[in-house]
Symmetry: C2
Amino acid sequence: MDLEKARLEFVQTWGNLGTAWGIPRSMAQIHAYLMMRPDGVSTEEVMETLMLSRGNVNTNLRELINWRLIDKVSKLGERKDFYKAKHDITEMAQAILDQRKKKEFLPVQSLLIQLKNTDITGGTDEERSHFTQMIKDLDEFVSLLDQLSDLLVKMNSNMVFKRMIKLLS
Amino acid sequence: MDLEKARLEFVQTWGNLGTAWGIPRSMAQIHAYLMMRPDGVSTEEVMETLMLSRGNVNTNLRELINWRLIDKVSKLGERKDFYKAKHDITEMAQAILDQRKKKEFLPVQSLLIQLKNTDITGGTDEERSHFTQMIKDLDEFVSLLDQLSDLLVKMNSNMVFKRMIKLLS
DNA sequence: TTTTATTTTCAATAATTTCTGAAACTTTAG
DNA sequence: CTAAAGTTTCAGAAATTATTGAAAATAAAA
């Protein structure tokens, strides 16, 4: 199969994965395309290859930079900007985890903590204790996920990771 | 704070978490509400409490059953159906993982495997080898996540889990 | 059976999110 | 400075997704 066709197939699939997880399709597609290119790519080339508007590409490139998934690079003798993806999967995973933890887990975690420290009134004894228990369980579970994700990003060698998995299976 | 108010605060936050991860707000809200109720709740009560239409509640209750996050239960002497959430967080996590793995990870994984077994033509040597390497890295990473999630769901006791975390931190 | 309660379906509508494209802005070159 | 190249912004359009509500279907009771 032709390289560019293979890249575009990956772009499609990665785009779908993105939308399923609340990431704009174009953003995921642009990221996918840059991942599969060894060097920096210009806005123009992204626009043409993925058939997206200038505004869209510009906005999503900026967002990808915010997420630390890509870097702006310059090419000798070229006036325009080029964009190059981080090619290390672990770094990539860490960047994504950081973003989503910050935006989505923190609010949940802080509500859970707040509710744990609040006296609940009304309802039956059973209802109150069920509520309290569920909040406690959820809080513990979220903390666990949090620790686990820290662990994941701390590992920069797959060797360690694989051994751990083996050890625990 | 009043129990029902506390429940509704949780419902709101859980609903937001849902939408950020591609789950319809109502579905996440209904799940959140049922989680915080010790016994089965009727469609009517969900509609009134969360101010959602009958159709919406009906559809999402069915979807939650599909996901195995809730069960339909009947109450003695009552004609209508009641719905009760699974209250075990681990079971809950497992149900969610199962669904999302099936719908979203499998397609990625199968494309990666397919691309690994395809000969790539065109482009420079560097481009081809970069592409091949990235696909390989991604495939390994996805497999790793997969193993890790299996591990997570196999653990039904937090004790084991916590020891593992401690062991590896 | 007929009536009443309950559940399901789905076309239409609403809400939200994403994308476009042209104008404004900024930067660099001449 | 002026002109050209490149980038950013953002109001409106398009696309997608979620929700409603009323009618149809089903199930239970009388």
